[in-house]
Amino acid sequence: MTELTRNDVQIGSSVPFWAVFKRELALYFRSPIAYAIAFAVIFFLSILFNGYISQAAGQAPAPSGYIPSILTFLTFLIAPLLTMRLLAEEQREGTLEVLMTLPMNEAHFIVGKFLAAWAYWTVLILLTVVYHIVLTQIGVPDLGEAFGAYFGAWLYGGTVIAVSMIWSAVTEDQIVAAFLGAATILVLYLAEIAAVALAGNGDLSWLSGFVRELGFQAHYDATLSRGILRAEDILYFILMIVVALFITTRIVEIRRWRS
């Protein structure tokens, strides 16, 4: 495996995305923002959860999709905060120039960063499982529904992170990246409403189905959040991640070639 041996330095094979992933994940947990996001989310959810519990008392089984659904809605605030820094900062500081002259494919770099943000999201979701534990204490929640909802929220988060990361590649300004990320996520979140409006419009009704399928909610709200695992929904989220990462990679490449 050792190639290019000069003096005492040995160069072996490397998995660059793993190094990028480790650095980025460590950075989340060293910066106050990760803790601030986690605290805000948990705090907000606990207030809603409390109200929800007192309202839903006596219902059986207790709907497990409540907390994951709120989490998916909150992604439009959370994901841009997680992704705005990832590439914008590297472009502004010029550190991209060193990274992009290392023997590493851009894709490793992008995927490593994406996985770090997604890992943070995973931790956040795991923290909210505590609400489900509370539910099991006071009612009989459906385990399959819970699994579907949480698994769906996990996939949903990954997709939203990948989509909002595109903007971090487009601009060097973190605030702009966050704002555009949030806007894009909201548009995709609300696509279902647009689809309904389009369906009522004679000329454009043919677009309605497409717009609906493009949005996040069509693949989460009615299916995954109720524990229904459909291959097409899972495929939708995976495809969105792959396409978004591909776009991000291309943007980084094009910006580099023009810089």
Partner: protein, 325 residues
């Protein structure tokens, strides 16, 4: 070994590098010299695989920079201008990160080795944001040396350093030149003269001269003819005398003296100038062909190219910088 052939880079309308060709040999420091905006950084970015050339060819360590970019990158250590680093990491952490991506074995030990080599062993665990400009520069250099590459590309590594740090860095670059191919860009001409075995002078995207500092000097002496005159009175007094001489076509004040251009290259005006000045009771302090150091060669070459009487501010600045040093 770096071989560049007809390399061109354009951004839309603007041509930043216009078909340049040069070779940087192993075991030598090749100076890449030119004012800011001459195309040095653009060329280096093409050589390191950061951006593709518009046309032309370049190979580094035997691999084509465009088609075999990954192989080139394995063999190049690159220190970009302005030394971009992650401020939130320690020097050791940063080098470990880069080393892991490069696949360096025993990366921590190797990172410590290079930090020692650049004299930062004791600051390995300091955050980069807490390091001085000179130290950061050395962290950047350590990054370039980490995988012991055969080729080093250093973009203005001495910029922003204090005089002692500049001397240390030049010495380090000269040492590295013994067993590496080093391409080293600078806009300070004295620096190139001191450190480099070979110099490539670039201005406005084109190469205006290349060769060893000695070669460049003699070429210009042959081509030249222009002479520098210094007298013990203000040059304004001597100017009309020199101007009126039959062998002098043109004279002007520069470098605290007078630069005289002869009417014909074959005819050396120096004896006539010397006689005339002494006849006018002026003491001749200096009388020599121009372009004996790189500053003057550079001014000569860029003057020929831009055909403007005013020198670029950049070059004048570096001239005075060198004088005061």
């Amino acid at each position: 070994m770096i071989e560049v052939e007809n390399l061109t880079k354009s951004y839309g309308e603007v041509v930043a590098v216009k078909g340049i060709s040069f070779t940087a040999r192993p075991g030598q420091v090749t100076g890449f010299l030119g004012p800011n905006g001459a195309g040095k950084t653009t060329t280096m970015r093409m050589l390191t695989g950061f951006m593709p050339p518009t046309s032309g060819k370049a190979s580094v360590a035997g691999y084509d920079v465009f088609n075999q970019s990954l192989e080139v990158r394995k063999r190049v250590g690159y220190l970009p201008e302005n030394v971009p680093l992650y401020r939130d990491m320690s020097a050791l952490g940063y080098l470990t990160y880069i080393g892991e991506i490069r696949g360096v074995r025993n990366v921590k030990a190797r990172a410590m080795d290079v930090l020692e080599r650049v004299g930062l062993g004791s600051r390995a665990n300091s955050h980069i944001r807490a390091l001085s400009k000179g130290m950061r520069q050395r962290v950047g250099l350590a990054q370039a040396l980490l995988h012991n590459p055969p080729v080093l590309i250093l973009d203005e590594p001495t910029i922003g350093l204090d005089p002692i740090q500049v001397l240390e860095l030049r010495q380090l670059v000269a040492e590295l030149g013994r067993d590496h191919t080093v391409l080293f860009s600078t806009h300070i001409l004295g620096e190139a003269e001191q450190v480099c075995d070979s110099v490539v002078i670039i201005n406005q995207g084109s190469i205006v001269a290349q060769g060893s500092p000695t070669e460049l000097r003699s070429t210009l002496l042959e081509r030249g003819g222009r002479v520098l005159v210094r007298v013990d009175v203000t040059p304004e007094l001597a100017l009309p005398i020199i101007r009126d001489l039959s062998s002098v076509a043109h004279a002007e004040i520069a470098f605290d003296g007078i630069i005289a251009t002869p009417k014909s290259v074959e005819f050396d005006p120096r004896p006539q100038i010397a006689r005339a000045l002494i006849e006018h009771d002026m003491n001749l302090m200096e009388l020599r062909p121009l372009a004996v150091n790189l500053e003057e060669i550079f001014l000569e070459l860029t003057r020929a190219q831009t055909a403007q009487p005013n020198q670029p501010v950049e070059a004048l600045e570096s001239a005075s910088e060198d004088e005061s040093a």
